[in-house]
Amino acid sequence: MISHMPPGLIMILAVFLLPFVPHVWRQIYMLGVIALSAYGLFLGAGTHLVWTVLGLDLILYQADALSLPFAIIFHLAAALNVIYSWHDRDWQQHCASLSYAGAAIAALHAGDLVSLFVWWEATAVTSVFLILASGTKRAREAAMRYLLFQVTSGVLLLAGAAILASTSGDIRFTKMDLGDAATWLIFIAFGIKAAFPFLNGWLQDAYPEATPTGTVALSAFTTKLAIYALARGFPGTDILIWIGAAMTALPVFFAVIENDLRRVLAFSLNNQLGFMVVAVGIGTELALNGAVAHAFVHIIYKALLFMSMGAVLHQVGSIKASELGGLYKKMPFTMVCCIIGAMSISAFPLFSGFVAKSLTMSALGETGIYWAYFVLLFASAGVLEHSGIKIPYFAFFAHDSKIETGEAPIGMRVAMGIAAFLCVGIGVFPSLLYSILPYAVDYHPYDAGHVTSQMQLLIFAMLAFVVLVRLKLYPPEIPSTVLNSDWFYRRLAPAVGLPLLRGIMLVWGSFLCQMRGFINAIWDTLDRIMHSPLTGPTVSGRAVLIQAGLLALLLLIGYVAAG
């Protein structure tokens, strides 16, 4: 029975019991539920559950070679998050994160666009509570903006699905060709969640406002679900190469000057999504393997980086680079895990990022789109700058902040340890990862030329960092707000829109006033006629006049009807 349920659904249903399970047992219960959900994956590829509603076939459980690696890593991320938040007694957050992971996993197995829409929206309404749980005014406001974007994405997806249903009657979620209104609506819906340029503001706005444990969960699911959706719906769509290349390069500059280290990681997340989007845009088997492999390892090392910064935030109470530094002695384990995450995301050989990113870079090289290849190479140096160096450097080294603290709770450390182990394990034994990719892999990342090229790129970029620091040319961290695309709707729209709205309301108010005067003038005239008619009796009130008018109208209609 359970094996035929869509994976993830059981995680959502299990949430209803969660408040009644005492702390610690709650974590064990959640791990058990995640394991049960993962058990459902053993049913293998195929269509396992279809409901027919209003003549539409809703494919609730469909699995194939593309959904499997995402499903595995989503379950793993959900389990890691449970371990990471072992100390947390706040059952509301656990409810939110378990149902959020469940919704994302269920979405992976939706075989039609309407089912996808349901889970797509479910990820939005469950995850927003992870931001709200921070309890601050900033978090509440960011959560509302986040929800606005997420729901808009869902509405666009539904609109696209509705057009497809009405035109072709086919709502199956398969490869689409970008062209008509329906496919564009669906493409933009995916693009919002994948944080395309100018649609990305919600990510850097909201993720850093969530709780330390909440951000870890957020980093795993929504954006990677969008990558999965793009890989299924729009593989080989050329425009994605342009969009993805912009995504890899632009956030790099923002991350350099951002002071909030979790926001730096949010920019970094955006940059990493760019690599995956480019790979989907290329659309060859090697490239799609690259996109999936990148998403897989990215979830682990990005979670590791967010976990290490979450641990610092949990212990210190701040995650501003300008307030941190010198924590390497106080939190040595967290520091080591953070550096492993940093080396993984930077794609050092023997770390997971290297074996995944190599697939995309090789696929891009094969296409002959050299400009994109060199943009991604440039972005690789950017990744090293903000995630490889800036994050560990400003948190654990830089200068002595004189902060007295210790290591994070044991659950946080265990989760970080597992993630760090996986980062190295996958990097050393890439065949483990390659064996679950959608297409057969005959790829060997560890050839001498490739390794030396990557090492040259990274080591000399690090050398540039050392030179800048030694010459005191590396910019110091400054408490600040860095404007991002959310500025358009947080500042520009109110600045332009509010005066505009006030102007419109002023004109409308004046119009209503004029109308009122005009109507009063008519009544006054009628009153005068009623009380001083030229001939005949006076009319006693307006009601009588209205009745007389209506009777006259009826009479007129009667005459017209009679012919």
């Binding site: 900033r138 790099v252 500059f253 923002f254 350099v256 000057i257 010198g326 390497y328 002695k329 891009l364 090289g365 050299y370 290849y373 190479l377 440039f378 140096a381 950017g382 090293l384 700058e385 080294f397 830089a398 200068h399 002595d400 004189k402 001498a448 030329g449 490739h450 030396t452 090229s453 990557q454 090492m455 040259q456 790129l457 990274l458 080591i459 000399f460 970029a461 690090m462 050398l463 540039a464 960092f465 050392v466 800048l468 620091v469 030694r470 005191k472 040319l473 590396y474 910019p475 110091p476 400054i478 408490p479 600040s480 707000t481 860095v482 404007l483 991002n484 947080r490 500042r491």
Partner: protein, 82 residues
Amino acid sequence: MSTPSSKSPSDLQRLGGIFTKVLLGIVIVLFGLEFFIHRHGVVSAEESFMFPALYGFLAFLFIVQIGKWLRLMIMRKEDYYD
């Protein structure tokens, strides 16, 4: 970036010194390997002498410099949105 007034900053400086030496060691090794290992590139320029090294070094400097200019344009006070 560091203040030489307590014990920890000197520890940090010592760590920084070790890090720099190790890094320079790897730089020398990579320089030496360039004479023995043939790197494959997607374009011929990528196969030229120490190309990825130069690309990485310059890209890093470029990113930091653009970041400095960007600060003048898009950096606001911490309470800008409050």
